[in-house]
Symmetry: C2
Subunit: 289 residues, 2 copies
């Protein structure tokens, strides 16, 4: 939920009783696609940002954190990844980071909402500018149907989805995760948007996702990062695989690639899997349910 108060503050409600406000310069897109409400804003603190159904998807100022942690961590583990599938990711940020790897040969990006991609291409070139890379195939269709019908194998699958409400809901289902598992090549890795441990509503979704993932993937880990414009600032990705331990990777090889990053590094790669006790306990209980 969002509201514009006095026409100059955007609010995202983290819960009914906590909210985050951004002073806006301009609310320049206020529209609705076939799937969701879409709004684009310009702001003083975060540059441009956009929301889907009132929830902040990204801001120019802090999207680097999310996209670096989404892409570079699994790429450091599965360094030979050639064929990549992205579900969601309409802003193009995941693609932007992926195409920096010469070894990546092909990226299928499956985004249900073409309007998100079109608007990001026009108004958020910071994230969307690499969507035209010749290695990228855009598929404007339902990710659930795509993975159900796909036969190709992928070395890396990124679930860059919204929260599990509305259009994103099916991307948190057990059937969807099972299809993703079937599409993973040997040694393949899946990373998914895994919600947040702090506010109760988010934490319940974190538990649900972890329970389902744990029943599908033998390796199922969670890692954290500091994301200032997401609820509580404490956000998680899931790392799932048949056989890859996320902490077994060649840090020197990744560093030899010479990729400049502003958040990710190979020390932080190891550190980000060390979760607080209250998060570990909720994840543990989720697995037992």
């Amino acid at each position: 939920m969002a509201e514009i108060l006095k026409n100059d503050w955007f609010y995202e409600y983290f819960t009914g009783n906590a909210k985050f406000g951004i002073k806006i310069k301009d609310h320049f897109i206020d529209t609705r696609s076939e799937f969701q409400k879409i709004d684009f804003y310009d702001s003083y603190e975060y540059g441009r940002f956009f929301t889907l159904d009132g929830f902040i998807m990204l801001t120019e100022r802090d999207e680097f954190i999310y996209h670096e942690m989404l892409v570079h961590l699994p790429m450091a583990v599965n360094a030979d990844a050639k064929n990549v599938l992205i579900i969601g990711g309409g802003d193009g940020g995941a693609v932007r980071e992926l195409v920096r790897y010469p070894g990546v040969r092909h990226i299928d990006m499956v985004e249900i909402d073409r309007m998100v991609v079109d608007l990001c291409r026009e108004y958020l070139p910071q994230t969307a500018s690499k969507l035209g890379d010749p290695r990228v195939s855009l598929h404007f269709c339902d990710g659930i149907a795509f993975v159900r019908e796909a036969q190709e194998k992928y070395d890396l699958i990124l679930i860059d989805s919204t929260d599990p409400v509305g259009v994103g809901e099916g991307l948190f289902s057990q059937a969807f995760y099972e299809d993703c598992a079937r599409l993973l090549a040997p040694g393949g890795v899946m990373v998914n948007q895994h919600e947040s441990p702090y506010y109760e509503g988010d934490a319940v979704e974190m538990e649900r996702a972890h329970k389902k993932l744990s029943s599908v993937f033998p390796v199922c880990r969670v890692y954290q990062f500091h994301m200032p414009t997401y609820a509580s600032g404490h956000w998680l990705f899931g790392f799932a695989s048949q056989d890859r331990d996320p902490l077994v990777f060649d840090a020197a090889a990744w560093n030899a690639l010479g990729l400049h990053t502003d958040y990710y590094n190979t020390e932080l790669h190891r550190g980000c899997f060390a979760l607080p006790n209250y998060v570990l306990r909720r994840l543990g209980k989720a697995r037992e349910k």
Copy 2:
């Protein structure tokens, strides 16, 4: 800065252009001490919380994160700590965690503002209830003068201060850090509130503190934690010492103490020193200045 809008939302401004809102049940203390504005609230999402000069100091819901990271990490490194000095910490949360260690024999707590302690004792027993522990000596005086004049040696010094404005400003000065260094016993450790790397105003203070600490202490490290009600949710403590590496500690011994914690654990202890690149770069530049 804070404002109550329509008498039901408390706002803390992270910057002039970003703010955090908490729906309040009650604003039951609205006063001013000799040193600062003091307000106590009750809220739906965070329980009771209090602010100094409009900035959230703690909420009942997430103070465990701050206090566990402030106390247990250095206690795991300097497990034999007997004599402890706390500068600030009027809410009692640091004392509450410290008195769980039987080996801690004496705690000098130096809080400039007696009214904060009195109000926390009355309205925040969750943090303040151990201030009466017989090992605790409360000193209601200026921490700067206290460390300048003190002759005793401490195994652990905790700088549990407000931000470096107003009453907290001198607790970020080079002279203050030099006095603390002089008071540290061999093998002693100092941990200080080290601001946040994200918003520019906070990050500048982080740099200043790190530059000063680095010029005083041979060992000067920074560790991070997720603090939902502080600006950006990304907060830091500094770890300073003449000779102790914070990553050289006996995890098994700490775990054998059997202390229940909701945030801190010995894996996270290692992980929390792995900082994002943008933070490392700012700290590195600060040291070179």
